[in-house]
Amino acid sequence: MGEQAMNLPPAPVVGPRPLSASAGSPRGPRRSRFALASERVFEWVIRLCGISAILFVFGIFFFVLREGVGFLFGGLNLVQFLFSTEWYPTSVANVRYGVLALIAGTFSVTGLAMLIAVPFGLGAAIFVSEFCGGRVRETLKIVIELLAAIPSVVWGFIGISVMNPLIQEIFHVPVGLNVLNGALLLALMSVPIMVSIGEDALKAVPDSFREASLAMGATRWQTVRRVLLPAAKNGLLAAVLLGVGRAVGETMAVLMATGHAVNIPKSPFDPVRTLTATIAAELGEASVGSNHYQVLFVIGILLFSITFAVNLVADLIVKGTAKG
């Protein structure tokens, strides 16, 4: 065994040689002290940058919690906070901090947006990945990228200046700033992310699956429906979840386009207010350290937790696919 190994040529180097200053070492060339020191410094800087993302995520949680924690555990009635629809943060006689209506606002707008965006996003992802080639695909991908680049405040402006009169006219309602308006904007904003992640998921299905199906005489649509969709199911689900995360966290567009009324909506034409919009609208007026100010940070923690959970689930689903 040992003799056999000695006859083999030296193993190829698959990583950089370990750092050492000893002269004539068989493991690597002589290096100056300065070179070694700077190499170590660079490694530490790079390592620090590498873990910075973790530090930032914890930092965000810590500092948002820090501003809100005093009121969260001292004074805030959690039952009222989560289950009351009464949001009167500036009332003089009877201050009430119930965010149920705001949660309902967030989820009604997000839900309706997903009803529109999921079929379109996945349909477009299938089209881009399976039904078109070359030029058309490249063009569509560029359009999707540009669509994703439109800032949310511009979407909000479009909601006010374009969608508002359109909705008033088409549906004969007095105000066009409502759930439907916000949902349409959110749909347009979250479709690009769904298309790009959904396309990745479809691309990850090996070509041999397609070839096998086509060789059996299936049409392309049959292949998509019976072979590709089941195979890419997890990735597509993750695409939808990331779209949901984006929609829940969206601020400026819903702040401008949903009508800003604290209200549990009964129809798509009711105005609502979302969690994000409430923070954006009221943080400027609340004096630092006041209960009102702190409760807005508590809402921030709630939002952080929701999107964190959504992203975590999406990530676990994707990792599950990668393994299986």
Partner: protein, 297 residues
Amino acid sequence: MAATFAETPLARSKLRQERAVQILLGLMAFLMVLPLVTIVGYLVVQAWPLLSLDFLLKNPTGGMRQGGVWAALLGTIYLVTTSLLIAAPVGVLAAVYLNEYAKKGWLTRIINLAVVNLAGVPSIVHALFGLGAFVLFAGMGRSILAASLTLAIMTLPVIIASTREALASVPMSFREACWNVGATRWQTIKGIVLPNSISGILTGVILQVSRTAGETAPIMFTGAVFFKRIEEGNPFAYSLSDQCMALSMHLFTITTQVTDAPKALPYATAVTLLGTVLLVNALAIGLRVRLRARKKW
């Protein structure tokens, strides 16, 4: 010959179904092109009477009902540049760590998860963080620096993701060749990996610029103000500890707070912001297309 095969009803219905689906899916995809084109077109048409170089170079006047967007434009440039100077080195090095140093394991897994989550944190939560950490805790006050730091952390995942992709596209054999002539890991990165992926990294940096320029929520409470008068034509009119106007914030203000502005004014502001963002993005796309055409390996 195809004619010798009689078309069965099944084959015909399959074909019909195939066509219908293709048209339906095609329409869905096309419906994304439509809003982009119509929205941009409509905004430009509405804004046309006001669009001029003067609009960019004059301060807003008359309670933001007249004049241009100079103070806001310059503020956006300050915010973008400062946050870029912070985010680019950290983001690129973080990507270098993940692609060149990190071994498969729980730490790498957690870092990846953190990057994904950082990208998913709502922009308004970033605003709360910026306010709590930079404005109040670090004592920077509401300033360009505090707002830029907030923006930098928010857009870090953009740079990390695209830099990683660029680094991963450098073939492993390049690194192995370099290691075998005795270079250390950092020498290899500096001499071989980074130069060969610089265009891809630049693309990511450009995308970060575009994303930063459009953000509103994170700067609302950390450094942007509704109105501030600065010297026209002086590109150094702000300092890092100043508050500033920003295009995105300005659009929000004149749309929601200023009631009797001339109709074209918000449109012109929107077009300025959208034009900036889309131009920057087009630059990134152009760079990527050229890069792909030129790829040597």
